[in-house]
């Protein structure tokens, strides 16, 4: 990877510095051999040289410093005292490390003082065998036995320690990880969850039974839980292999499975069997096992059956087939599903009020179904981005010809899927960014040659999933951006104060401000001073974000983060007076209370949040909502492009999955709103577009302050 060289260089510089300090410490030690602080310094320097050396391919240094470190570990523990001989040896090893740093691989063996020095150090380490490179080689050393991968069914019981959260672990992630290595059916047990008022939110009460069909071995499954192996009860049992007859398993009775899992005793099974009802019902009603445990065991039976069915020869009909449908029909389907989700939420609310147990269970089923329906419907809308990428090949070709540049377009992640609407609306911003990279980023072939780069520049376009988002990157190996020039321009245009403290990243993002252009020469392709702000706005409208990283003469990377879909978001519902609004949860960081201590005269509009000054906006004033605010308001702290801004509201109502409805043509130009959603009572709530809101406020600060 491209980073390797810079990392190696960084290590060389660091090692030089460390060696200088090391020498100084050693010389001081000579004067005060008992100084623990100095001994520690020497140990740490060796430790860093060893660890970092191994990281960046300086294996000679890592091997060599290992023994030196071991000796100083003992000195640290008082097992060895500092002597002149030890100091001489260590100073000698400083020189040797320097030599190793400077001498290329094919070293002159005659000059190699390493073995001699090591022998000296080992004399301080009685009973220790000469050691090879520490760690890291495990993978390579143990020749991986190429075991034939056989698909098996595993029964996994995972009972996390109640204290598991305190190590920063989220037990549910392990279940997710299992899903990544095979088909997985998880049963969550909530029987240990106490009544609400007794719940300690810091404790984990739940546990899982998982059926996993995977070709990984037990050790690999154990690896998933490696970080928490001492914080959970973990049982992994293979219960069937593909190459084994699993007939016995299919015929295995529910009772046998429960006994095998240790959920019930054989005697209980026998006494239960003597009665005529279905075993599951009997055991449940007798309170011996929970309904859930029975369900889980039944699923095991089912999994075994499916397993067998899968092994049956596939019929041709099972081959994947696809049909073409019009986008309109699809939109209609999505609308209908959206409706359904809303009605379902209303039913849930009504049922919860009624307290009817039967209706409640029906409503829960409905919720599950509509969630599944929603997910699979939205899935249909997902399209791979590859087609869009391919469209750009021509663009790049034509542009490079026009500008007399040689450019290769490399794409990756074409299979990454995004909502159809997102893909459609992404086209223009991408074209603009590509043009920008080609026009401003990539130098002319002669210029490149002069810099020692290949004549042809590379522009790469990639897409990948990251969490619930997709990241699209446009990278070039061109001239990179000049923060100084951008800064000067921004000051000249009055966009920032001359003494503004900005990181390079902040400076790069200035080019997204309206009316910014650094091109000293206006070309037909870009540099008209319009565009980058339009790009930013388009991406904001897709509820995404954009970021620039650049290095002089190495090139620039523009990363665009996008949500997977525009149809549904998780939102935080808030209230101001009688009006309800929704804030996209993805930008919400926390909510804090705000008491009106300063009275109405307090115009500071800044809250001190754990030492950080966070500006806030009174939505009530900005939205001109009548009435008086409550004595204690809430501030929803949001993060927009790395900047934190508080939004003052009367009340935070809660988290809702929100189906986004367009506000339509008439409200198209209203800033600060991205759409509407339907509340449980059938009326609408508006969805805030916080970046847009901030823009609107910044554009007319005077009118706002008059309020």
């Amino acid at each position: 990877m491209a980073g390797d060289d810079i990392h190696r260089q960084a290590f060389r510089e660091e090692a030089d510095e460390l060696l200088m300090e090391l020498e100084a410490s050693l010389l001081e030690l000579e004067a005060q051999p008992g100084n623990a602080e100095l001994i520690n310094k020497v140990f740490r320097a060796m430790h860093t040289l060893k660890g970092s050396g191994a990281m960046f391919g300086f294996d000679d240094i890592a091997v060599f410093t290992h023994d030196v470190e071991s000796v100083f570990d003992r000195v640290r523990n008082g097992e060895i005292t500092i002597t002149k001989r030890l100091l001489d040896l260590t100073l000698g090893s400083c020189d040797h490390i320097k030599w190793l740093l400077e001498t290329p691989d094919a070293a002159n063996e005659a000059e190699n003082k390493g073995p001699e020095l090591l022998a000296g150090f080992r004399s301080f380490l009685p009973g220790q065998e000469p050691q090879g490179a520490p760690g890291g080689t495990d993978d390579a050393a143990a020749p991986q036995q190429e075991l034939e991968k056989v698909e098996s069914i595993y029964r996994i019981r995972f009972r996390p320690d109640p204290m598991i959260f305190s190590s920063g672990s989220n037990p549910a992630l392990f279940i997710e990880d299992l899903g990544e290595i095979g088909a997985c059916k998880a049963f969550l047990y909530m029987d240990k969850v106490p009544p609400l008022d007794e719940i300690d939110p810091f404790l984990c009460y739940v546990w899982w039974d998982v059926l996993l069909r995977s070709s990984e071995r037990v050790e690999e499954i154990q690896d998933i839980f490696a970080f928490v192996e001492d914080q959970c009860e973990l049982v992994i049992e293979p219960i069937a292999r593909e190459d084994e007859a699993c007939e016995s398993l299919i015929s295995k009775k529910l009772g046998e499975i429960l006994v095998e899992r240790g959920d019930i005793d054989p005697e209980i099974l026998n006494s239960a069997l003597s009665s005529q009802k279905r075993l599951g019902d009997i055991l449940t009603s007798a309170g011996i096992v929970s309904e859930h445990q029975v369900e889980s065991a039944l699923a095991e039976q089912q999994a075994a059956k499916e397993f067998k069915d899968r092994r049956a020869p596939q019929t041709p009909a099972a081959a994947s087939s696809s049909i073409r449908i019009s986008a309109e029909k699809l939109d209609l389907l999505v609308d209908l599903v959206g409706e359904l989700v809303i009605v379902q939420a209303q039913i849930k609310q009504a049922v919860a009020k009624s307290g009817d147990v039967f209706l409640n269970s029906l409503s829960e089923q409905l919720e599950r179904l509509s969630d599944d329906l929603r997910d699979s419907t939205l899935g249909i809308r997902m399209l791979p981005i590859g087609a869009t990428f391919n469209k750009f090949r021509r663009l790049v070709r034509d542009l490079s010809a026009e500008l007399g540049k040689e450019i290769e377009l490399v794409t990756s992640g074409e299979e990454t899927e995004l909502d159809k609407t997102v893909i459609e609306r992404l086209g223009d911003p991408l074209v603009h960014l590509l043009r920008n990279s080609i026009d401003h980023g990539i130098e002319s072939p002669d210029e490149r040659q002069a810099k020692g780069k290949p004549r042809a520049g590379v522009v790469s376009l990639s897409a990948e999933h990251s969490g619930g988002e997709v990241i699209i990157r446009i990278a070039d190996d061109g001239a990179g951006m000049d923060p100084g020039r951008i800064r000067a321009k921004a000051v000249e245009r009055g966009l920032i104060a001359p003494d503004a403290e900005l990181s390079d990243k902040d400076v790069y993002s200035l080019i997204f401000l309206p009316g910014f252009s650094t091109a000293e020469k206006v070309t037909s392709v870009s540099g008209r001073g319009v565009g980058m702000d339009v790009v930013k706005r388009a991406i904001d409208q897709l509820r995404g974000g954009v970021e620039i990283d650049s290095q002089r003469d190495k090139g620039s990377v523009i990363s665009i983060r996008l949500p997977l879909t525009l149809v549904i978001i998780n939102g935080l519902q808030i209230r101001i007076g009688e009006e309800h609004y929704v804030i996209p949860l993805s930008i919400v960081e926390e909510c804090v209370g705000l008491s009106r201590h300063g009275g109405p005269a307090d115009q500071s509009q800044i809250i001190n949040l754990r030492g950080e000054s966070v500006p806030f906006i009174r939505l009530r004033e900005w939205f001109e909502i009548e009435g008086t605010p409550p004595s204690i308001e809430q501030i929803v702290i949001t993060s927009v492009d790395g900047m934190r801004v508080g939004l003052v509201v009367d009340n935070v109502i809660g988290e809702h999955q929100t189906v986004i409805k367009s506000l339509g043509r008439i409200y198209r130009d209203v800033e600060g709103l991205s759409g509407a959603t339907i509340k449980g009572d059938g009326s609408m709530a508006l969805i805030l577009d916080v970046p847009g809101l901030l823009r609107a406020i910044n554009e007319q600060p005077a009118t706002y302050r008059e309020n």
């Binding site: 890592a62 920063g168 672990s169 990363s559």
Partner: protein, 120 residues
């Protein structure tokens, strides 16, 4: 918004490598040179900490304990960077509240795999 990860190491080259690798993956990165420095920079949205164990001023174990003592960071993932020769330290770190570990030397891909394992 992108998640923010704090990387704590007294070795500049490791900080650079960790920072570079994480930024390339789209994370925001806060760098600190030792435990003390890390604590002073621990404010606002920090979603995860990756720390070396052996550092001057305040070592990794002490840092983990201090992070866990703050309500806002009680449950964030903390990954420690250990070496093979520090098997005992690994346990000490877990007891202090570390989420997991990476054994040095490691490759960027291994780092990313661990980050993605604990931070979602």
């Amino acid at each position: 918004m992108s998640k923010t990860i704090m990387t704590v190491d007294d070795s500049a080259s490791i900080r650079q490598m960790v920072g570079f690798t994480l930024k390339k993956e789209g994370y925001s990165v806060v760098e600190a040179v030792d435990g003390k420095d890390a604590l002073s920079k621990l404010k606002g949205p920090i979603h995860m900490v990756i720390t070396d164990l052996n550092m001057p001023n305040m070592d990794g174990i002490e840092l983990i304990r201090n992070i866990r003592a703050q309500a806002a960071y009680k449950f964030i993932p903390i990954i420690m960077l250990t070496t093979e020769s520090q098997a005992g330290k690994k346990q000490e770190g877990k007891t202090a509240g570390a989420t997991g570990w990476i054994v040095k030397p490691f490759k960027p891909e291994q780092l990313i795999a661990v980050v993605q394992k604990v931070l979602r």
